[in-house]
């Protein structure tokens, strides 16, 4: 009997069919990844395996068998025994997935006591044991911490520890690394790999990131619109995809080894930063977010800035645009001192949802910079906004629509149109594609490249994703703890990194090819040992 056996699974949320006739099996100890873009129904499947749709109004049809339990027919009591017992789930976003008010050890102990008849004290000991197992240093003491006292990676480990506490036969991991930095992501994936080797548990991994899947599983099931597109061994599906959608998906994934354009940027410097420094807070709580950063940006080139969360890359980006005043250092734009906001230096923001006012039409949002420059004639504003909308691949008639009527990628196009409206010569893009699906990501990156060539724009591309930065940039600066640790032409930095941190970052990027993934895993072990 298989560990998981799903036949003809169908999940409807009202009129929306999220999962449409999906069937798959997972044997004991095997690992399967459900891969798909947002809205493909992959997380819905994961929740259905534990019967989590019960009582939510969703209609679930088909048969689901997990670790010998018929999830569709099981009583509440049987379901509760299954959940966290033989089958445990690890969620995305570990900050919100733990109760902020209780100590982490207590939360794990509470779950353990649901499934094992043991004393409070024994459960607490078990909690420390599993926390230690997932690599929380000084687990006995740290088990008394509350979630906000843990870093993102440690919280994710704590959630995995909770899952491990009852020695499950199946681990369901729903985007377990999505909120994490690459180096931390690599550590968590390595941990899952080791645990699987040691305990022989099965793994069902839900992810939008093909690279994460390639690192961790034996089989891949590609989903789209609630249906299975392609299903097979990971090397086959990712190495020689049979379906056009799989090929499209793989082609859109930015790679560290993809061919890239060669830069032909002129030498003329448009924006120059010298000794930039920015502190937040005062006195004992003062914190230096950016420390002594000097950069130059030439006309028509793209400067990539990579770093993990907290490295100061966003603060730097905001200072370049003039949204933040530097504590020290100077900025020069086209030969003159650059202070405050300047229409010629614009910004595209990360979150296309929150960076547009939901109560105003997108046309109004794009028209803001025009009005700010003194344009008063409605007709001319509409005409110009229409041109801009068309320029970024939308329609002029979209002027009166509201942000919620657009998809994530379209909203980001609106954000780009708004930046263009001011007639900029430099655009700072702060994580412009990190909230988007890979195929959408590829389109937006393509658009930025086109605009750059046509308008001769200089771009600063701030991102945490090394592969995306490599793809778009001519030169790249690697940031860590507020400083630039390495800067140079992309080929140099990526092919022969000088700084150990850059090497560590590059080794952490998931590879699409399982063999390469295994090689990188070994490389990471070496780096960690060194």
């Amino acid at each position: 009997m298989s560990l998981v056996d799903v036949t003809g699974l169908r999940v409807d949320f009202g009129a929306l069919r999220a999962v449409d006739g999906l069937s798959f099996r997972l044997e004991e100890g095997a690992a399967l990844a459900l891969v798909g873009e947002s809205g493909s129904g992959k997380s819905t499947v994961a929740s259905a395996l534990l019967g989590l749709h019960r009582g939510t109004g969703a209609r679930v049809e088909g048969s689901i068998e997990v670790a010998g339990t018929d999830v569709q027919r099981a009583s509440e009591e049987e379901l509760r025994r299954l959940r966290g017992g033989p089958a445990a789930m690890v969620f995305q976003d570990p900050l919100s997935s733990l109760d902020p008010y209780y100590a982490i050890g207590d939360q794990i102990a509470e779950v353990y006591r649901v499934h094992a008849r043991v004393s409070r004290r024994a459960a607490r000991t078990r909690a420390v044991e599993v926390l230690d197992r997932v690599g929380i240093p000084d687990a006995a003491r740290r088990s008394r911490s509350r979630p906000h006292e843990f870093s993102g990676g440690m919280r994710q480990r704590a959630l995995i520890a909770m899952a491990l506490s009852c020695e499950p036969r199946l681990l369901i991991a729903d985007e377990p690394t999505t909120a994490l930095d690459v180096t931390v992501q690599a550590q968590v994936l390595d941990l899952l790999h080791t645990l699987r080797e040691e305990t022989g548990m099965g793994l069902l991994l839900v992810t939008h990131d093909v690279g994460v899947a390639a690192e961790s599983v034996d089989e891949v099931l590609v989903m789209r619109h609630g249906k299975a597109v392609e299903h097979g061994p990971v090397a086959g599906v990712l190495g020689a995809p049979a379906q056009p959608y799989t090929r499209e998906l793989l082609a859109a994934v930015p790679r560290l080894d993809a061919p890239r354009k060669t830069s032909t940027a002129p030498e003329e410097v448009v924006l120059e930063a010298a000794g930039l420094r920015r502190e937040f807070g005062r006195g004992k709580r003062a914190f230096t977010a950016v420390d002594d950063v000097s950069l130059t940006l030439r006309r028509g080139e793209t400067l990539g800035i990579v770093g993990e969360s907290g490295s100061g890359k966003t603060t730097l980006g905001r200072m370049l645009v003039g949204l933040l005043e530097p504590t020290a250092g100077t900025l020069t734009f086209e030969g003159r001192a650059h202070t405050g906001v300047n229409p010629a230096v614009q910004m595209v923001f990360q979150d296309p949802v929150s960076s547009l006012n939901p109560r105003r039409s997108v046309g109004e949002s794009i028209a803001d910079p025009l009005r700010a420059r003194g344009e008063r004639q409605e007709g001319r504003i509409r005409e110009r906004v229409g041109e801009l909308l068309e320029r970024v691949g939308l329609e002029a008639a979209h002027y009166d629509r509201y942000p919620h009527e657009f998809s994530g990628g379209q909203r980001q196009r609106v954000g780009i149109a708004r930046a263009l409206a001011a007639g900029p010569r430099v655009i700072v893009c702060d994580e412009p594609v990190s909230a988007l699906d890979v195929t959408t990501q590829a389109h937006v990156v393509g658009l930025l490249g086109e605009l750059q060539r046509e308008l001769g724009l200089a771009l600063v591309f701030v991102a945490h994703d090394l592969a995306v930065v490599r793809q778009v940039s001519d030169r790249v600066a690697v940031m860590r703890r507020g400083r630039v640790v390495e800067e140079g032409p992309v080929e140099e930095v990526y092919e022969s990194p000088r700084d150990p941190y850059t090497r560590q970052l590059l080794a952490a990027v998931p590879a699409l090819d399982p063999e390469a993934a295994a090689r990188r895993r070994a490389q990471r072990r070496e780096l960690a040992a060194a």
């Binding site: 969620f91 919100s96 997935s97 008010y101 779950v111 909770m162």
Partner: protein
Amino acid sequence: MNGFTGFVLRRAVGAAVTLLAISVIVYIVFYATPGNVAQITCGPRCSPEQVHQVARQLNLDDPLFVRYGHFLQGLVAGQDYSTGTSVQHCSAPCLGLSYQSDQQVTQLIWAKLPVSLSLVAGAMVLWLILGVGTGVLSAWRRGRFSERVLTGITLAGTATPVFVIGLVLMIVVCGELRLLPFPQYVALTDDPEQWAWNLLLPWLSLALIEAAAFARLTRASMLETLAEDHIRTFRAYGVGERSVVGRHALRGAFAPVIALNANNVGSAVGGAVLTETLFGLPGIGQELVHAVNVVDLPVVVGMVLVIGFFVVLANAVADVLYAVADRRVVLT
């Protein structure tokens, strides 16, 4: 607990500044309003000469800021008042003398305060139990028949004026059923048992009105917490519904309840006029309304300051409770 002492100190300074600001505003509002205070205090039959004399006695001829200066001086150092023939010493903190009775305002407040505090303290316990309990139940039973009944009752509670609820309670409990005598205030220090029995109906009436707001707030914030990811985590680990709702959701839903409670307790000290009047409780609220009617300004200013003090105090206590309930809160 260095951070805690610092918090208390900062809070005390903040409270003092707030109260000072309140006193300035109250002074300006009441003393600068048109209307002849001396005439009202003296009575309708006073001759212009008598009115003039009263005005001099009450220092009403001095400019406003001079009088405010006297007021502050009395507050810090105490003051002597000559009332025609004798001299009365009013020791610090002195809030002045009542225009009507020449009684010291502080003494007047000391006499009324226990009544108001008794009423509010008991009512608070009841409204928290009733309100939070109803809120939790209706969040848990959302959309079912029992929830609609509970919502209906709480809505009726807010919609019914306190004098209706109070009167009905009195008529039924004391009049028809004769379960309790008609309420009459007995001091806690005199007879604790009688104190509680006599305050039971006032507590209930006040609590029923306030409970509705707590029920709705608790329900809304419970529903919000129940939709959070960590609740899903515990459900996905087979933790029972009772523990999910009672342990994890309720704790998360408590912060807004603490905040609302602070405001309500603070304002009920001086604001439960209707309840006090209805049940004949000689509390602050009743006295304040009387003082406003007869333009007894020292009493008005004094009582407003005392009420302000309780609002500030209740909020400071709420902040501490916040920090105790949620370790992420830093007291600053």
